[in-house]
């Protein structure tokens, strides 16, 4: 049953992220990215991460993508990305990158087909709820939480300073 929900959502995620990359208009890319975030929130719900799914919708699809749309409309990028200029080819880099990806995929299949991944832990129904995640966040991870708040403050100040019209 979960698989029946997971597969369409996963396929939608992959297709929408392909659309983000291959669309020539930035606005269409941003729209596809919003759809991808929403499908991903569905995937998180299937994986019993309810709190993270809500965060995904609120922060990513809500805040970050609004920022993207705002900047795209502010810069008025209508005809900027029409021509796709190919970079000059480099055979050595192509072959070594392909070999690297193949090696990573081989190792990946090798590890995940091991026997220790066949028996998942039994999880209670309350797994991934706000109470459970919040308890972990405010007991074991208090310091990272506070550091994250400082990071956001620094990012906010940095964005204001960078986007200011003229440095006096």
């Amino acid at each position: 049953m979960e698989l029946l929900i997971f597969y369409p959502l996963a396929i939608a995620c992959v297709v929408l992220s392909m659309l983000v990359v291959f669309n020539s208009s930035p606005i269409a890319s941003a729209m596809s990215l919003i759809g991808m975030m929403l499908c991903l929130a569905g995937v998180f719900v299937v994986l019993q991460a309810h709190f993270l799914a809500a965060l995904q919708v609120i922060i990513y699809a809500g805040a970050i993508m609004v920022l993207f749309m705002f900047v795209i409309m502010l810069l008025n990028l209508s005809d900027d990305d029409k021509q796709w200029v190919a970079r000059e080819r480099n055979l050595f880099l192509s072959v070594s990158a392909g070999a690297l990806i193949l090696g990573v995929l081989y190792k990946f299949i090798d590890i995940t087909s091991g026997t220790e991944f066949n028996s998942p832990a039994e999880v209670p129904d309350t797994f991934g709820t706000v109470r459970q995640v919040g308890t972990t966040l405010f007991t074991d991870f208090v310091l990272p939480f506070e550091v994250a708040s400082i990071l956001l403050l620094v990012a906010m100040i940095g964005a204001v300073v960078l986007a200011k019209s003229k440095v006096d």
Partner: protein, 100 residues
């Protein structure tokens, strides 16, 4: 339940699509979106392992990833606006302000 390997394959696929976007696109904003795709792909595998191991540490990590992504996007788009003010383009090949 969803097998772990399927979640990891989804994660790897989306990460590869994000890398592809960063490599082939020239538009700075679309490159940022591809970076978001990569961060989301990492979140999938963190949450899948988390569900698998019956711990909440991975979800806290995803939370931190979301916080870092928000910070990165706000600063990155501010940099794009600042560069756009000097030179009205978002084509990454023409960004050479810091080249010596």
């Amino acid at each position: 339940m969803v097998p772990l390997s399927h979640c990891l394959i989804l994660s790897a696929t989306m990460f590869s699509i994000g890398v592809l976007g960063v490599l082939i696109r020239r538009n700075a904003i679309v490159v940022f979106m591809s970076i978001e795709i990569m961060l989301n792909a990492v979140n999938i595998s963190l949450i899948a392992f988390d569900r698998y191991m019956n711990q909440h540490d991975g979800q806290i990590f995803s939370f931190m990833v979301i916080a870092v992504a928000a910070a990165e996007v706000s600063v990155g788009l501010a940099i794009v606006i600042a560069v756009f003010r000097n030179k009205p383009t978002v084509n990454l090949d023409e960004f050479n302000l810091m080249k010596w």
